[in-house]
């Protein structure tokens, strides 16, 4: 047990083992359907939304914060973008670009509002982002008048439901893009290093000259921007902005992906790639259970158990490391 706990790759490796077992068992049970490329591509497309949300959440959680507002931000930014797209006098690529930009700005502003009470008054992010969850939820319904807003232009359809080479759905490319940019940002820049430093020891980071307030603010803004990208992808896919998009299980699934992916809720450690695999594992799990006709309520029980297992392992490993 102790040798296992010492392994820093414990989380990742146990995930891989878990996933392999899953693949073999389910593939046999489903007579080969699980490993079919078409099925796997479908899983990737399904996880795109929770994965992009989880990427933003990863930044926040590494600073030992949390962002509860992302789900309703998806709905709100989607509605805002649908309205914008319908109001703009031009079409085609410029329309897509401007619409996306508006959504990103709205998401960034929401993140900034989330961060201000946290950095200025040291209030818990749980509360400020919880308030934003309610505010954005309400605003989405007010702006949309309570029903989905159909997007008149067809310029978005290539993004929402197009494919590359005829079989890779475009949303997957967005996910790959977001994951790549986020990984570089977190692993290769000064900002990324500071995110880890202040999550690991905020006082030490501050005394080393890190502008803690600025880094935290940017982190919440990134999370808001990720939510707006998901809002954009949903809007493009359904050709409408609906206020209830993102307000179901998206928030919890994103947090689950981060946690299962090895990012510590205590802050200071984690990775974007881990989050991607966390989201992938959860996606595969659901897909596999569907293929072998597991009762949908039982599916929730299994997901909960996987999350619990992940955090228990995390804690055991940390305790072991501290003792060593």
């Amino acid at each position: 047990m102790s040798a296992l706990l010492k392994n820093p790759w414990l989380r990742t490796s146990s995930l891989v083992i878990f996933a392999l077992v899953l693949v073999v068992v389910v593939n046999n049970a489903a007579h080969g359907a699980f490993l079919e490329p078409r099925n796997l591509v479908q899983v990737l497309q399904q996880i795109t939304y929770s994965c992009v949300l989880a990427v933003g959440q990863t930044f926040v959680i590494i600073t030992s914060g949390i962002d509860l507002s992302i789900g309703s931000l998806v709905g709100m930014t989607g509605v805002v973008m649908a309205k914008t797209a319908n109001a703009l006098p031009f079409d085609g690529a410029p329309l897509v670009l401007v619409t996306l930009l508006v959504g990103i700005v709205v998401g960034a502003i929401a993140g900034w509002v989330n961060a201000m009470p946290v950095v200025k008054l040291n209030l818990p992010p749980f509360i400020t982002t919880f308030a934003m969850l309610e505010i954005a939820f309400g605003l989405a319904y007010i702006i949309s008048g309570g029903s989905p807003i159909p997007v008149k232009s067809t310029a978005f359809s290539g993004i929402g439901s197009g494919t590359l080479f005829g079989f890779v759905p475009t949303p997957i490319l967005w996910m790959v893009g977001v994951v790549t940019i986020a990984t570089v940002l977190l692993m290769k820049t000064r900002f990324g290093r500071y995110v880890f430093a202040l999550g690991g020891n905020e006082e030490a980071a501050r005394l080393a000259g890190v502008n803690v307030a600025r880094v935290k603010t940017i982190v919440y803004m990134i999370s808001g921007v990720c939510a707006s990208i998901v809002g954009f992808l949903y809007m493009a896919r359904f050709a409408s902005g609906s206020p209830d998009t993102g307000t179901h299980d998206e928030l919890l699934e994103a947090i689950a992906a981060v946690v299962v992916g090895g990012t510590s809720l205590m802050g200071g450690s984690g990775s974007i790639v881990g989050t991607f695999f966390g989201a992938l594992l959860i996606g595969l799990l659901y897909n596999a259970m569907n293929l072998i006709h597991v009762d949908s309520y039982l599916q929730r029980v299994v997901l909960g158990a996987v999350i619990l297992l992940a955090v228990v392992l995390d804690e055991l490993r940390k305790r072991y490391l501290q003792k060593a």
């Binding site: 820049t189 000064r190 880890f196 080393a208 200071g268 490391l321 060593a324």
Partner: protein, 492 residues
Amino acid sequence: MRGIGKSFPGVRALSGVSLTLNAGEVLALVGENGAGKSTLMKILAGAERADEGGILIDGKEARIASPRDAEALGIGMIYQELNVVPQLTALENIVLGNEPVRGIFLDENAARARATALVEELGMDLPLDQVTSRLSVGAQQLIEIAKALAKKARIIVMDEPTAALTDREIDALFAIIARLKAGGAGIIYISHRMEELPKIADRITVLRDGAAIETRAQADFPQNDIIRAMVGRSVDAHFPEPPVVAADAPVMLDVEHFVRAPAVNDVSFQVRAGEIVGLAGLVGAGRTEIVRAIAGADAVHSGTLRVGGEIVRVRTPHDGIAAGIAFITEDRKRQGLVLGMSVRENTTLAHLAQFVARDGLIDGKRERAAAVKMTDELRVRTPSIEQLVRNLSGGNQQKVVLAKWLLGKARVFLFDEPTRGIDIGAKTEIYALMLELIKNGAAIVMVSSELPEVLGMSHRVLVIRDGKIAQAFGRADATPDRVIAAATGAAA
């Protein structure tokens, strides 16, 4: 307590300490910072366990394995950091953990009756229904005493109870101690303040380096003898003699009228290039707060700071670094290092901008090279620069902290307890490094609770008391007894 011994990893905190406390007396426990007073008392209170030795209460062997055991035996501990719940009222705090109940309900009347009786018996002036956070520190201390007595404590330990009290509150506290004594309680009173011992103590025990050195009745223990027993040794000779500061050396650090209430009260001093100035004084005297204010860790309320002759405004640690000030903090685990990060990441954290290439990304090759160079120079013993600092020894962790600050171009180095908890070999290396720094024209301010270290390393020693410079000594005049006398406020 008989023959108490206790070791922590790498440190022998107590060895063979014995002391006796009689009913109805106040035993004062004195000693330098780190002499073992707190550890000894924690053992009595069940917060730590002794490796050897035993405790007898009323002549019977007592087993104290937890704070609960201590409580059951009538031992009450009043720590320096008070343990009151600020949101509860004074009354609620007094009966906390001991609430009278009727069935499953709290019996408010019984609680009030009990607390009122206690407060009256002791002659305390305490508003019972006031929320504790609104009360003064003195009143909170009274709550702690009442709380201990509510649990029927007969042995009461007070750790520097007067440190944060006003003169009037001290008088009130002493009156209460006198009543407790008259009621047959035994009191162990830990203090750094020489002047209050004659007023309060019956007997005095001096601890030094984890051993009980001497115990005498208060009347037979003059202040000079106490100080001599506390210091005990002459300054160790193993400190390298710092080179003389050139007569024309420019003033590198100039602190003028620094105020940050309540800990820093109008502090002014200068440090020249090539000079080490030691700040001596008791824990809580304001030494750390002074260097924190200089570094920008806490913003000063008023005062002027000059570095290399130029006025600098330092409001955040970032400003401090930009002004060329390096602050090596006292608590490396909490303030100096990100334990979950590698040696490399910690080393470059404060000067990461140096390694950012034109594309905005960190140049990993240059960063690694710099980290390797620094760890080699400082001889940090680590398997690789990718090792997490959590896994290094205290001395090597401290070297990583130093590496972090040496990477920059700092001209002023503030060392707060630079050698706490590290082995003698690493200490010597750190002293050598300090000399290297001043040879290159840096100015050093060193806070240390280890008297030999302050006296051995400093060109000048400033003794801090109550947030002010109580007295300044040149290297030749700074003797242990003079410094201790100035720090404790005893007449020299």
